[in-house]
Symmetry: C2
Subunit: 199 residues, 2 copies
Amino acid sequence: MKYFAAPLEKLVEQFESLPGIGHKTAQRLAFFVISQPEEKAQAFASAILDAKKSIHTCKTCCNLTEDELCPICSDTKRDTTTVCVVSDPKDLIAIERTHEYNGLYHVLHGVISPLSNVGPDQLRINELLQRVRNGGISEIIMATNPDPEGDTTAMFLSRLLEPFEVKVTRLAYGIPVGGHLEFSDQVTLTRALEGRRPL
Amino acid sequence: MKYFAAPLEKLVEQFESLPGIGHKTAQRLAFFVISQPEEKAQAFASAILDAKKSIHTCKTCCNLTEDELCPICSDTKRDTTTVCVVSDPKDLIAIERTHEYNGLYHVLHGVISPLSNVGPDQLRINELLQRVRNGGISEIIMATNPDPEGDTTAMFLSRLLEPFEVKVTRLAYGIPVGGHLEFSDQVTLTRALEGRRPL
């Protein structure tokens, strides 16, 4: 027997299809939406449609934007000779928050992951190569995550970029600030030792 | 500086307004919705609107339904002399899942909670009294949660129902099946002792 009316059941299913949302949470969210006034439900629905309709990838860096170029690519004050390659728009935001980087970005929208059937063709690699071919780029910083898939992707890209006259760098590995040596894993500690710098 | 385009930011805000969804999760969900094909986003948006539009409370028991009467109230095989009072439609479902109860329900849509500014007037108490006044009900089972607010609500209702010729009962307190005496709290154990029954 269905315990809920069909439209409610459908809304629960929709919430359940989101990543990290289980059945109980989906129920809770659906009930909450139902309990809200009509305008709120309408605002939610139109936010979904608006975002889906107006958001697309930047022509240059593949970041998400509602214009042809994203705010970073269209900012004339940024250093156009450096490109930081990230796998996800959220990583771009993490780097922007440091206020330490003034170059441009390139968003791959994923990493090479044979286990999830993601090959280089599904990533925005051709767009990156085209930017390098167009010239004007002197350094590419690989800022994919420091995990096997991120490392593989960075390695793969650096091979592809070998024929071009461009410096390819990788974010430093090491102990996070505020971290404890005692609780650091062996690999991180090994990398921190390897990457040691004169004081 | 805004890191996201405005429509995306709005969608993140919408997700963030849901209970138990923080900023990071809201971002993750919004990005997921954006990454889905157009039809999926549309299905999500219309599920919200449909549910909000078509779901309302049952004329008799205040359960959520898309018809005038909920499936339980319109089921002629159910025992109409017993009414189980729950605070939330989800509690009704929990009881239905036992397949042990064949009576009707009454959904209060909340419990009396002075701390959250919820008084008896905000609950569907008048509807319950009207059902009792209409006659034909011999027992009312208080199935609010066994916490201070649920207990208060059950107590308050039982006082209100005193003038009527109706038996008012409360769900049994005790050790949950599969539980351990060792890990039971004192109050539960006291209630389990008080409620002991001949074997």
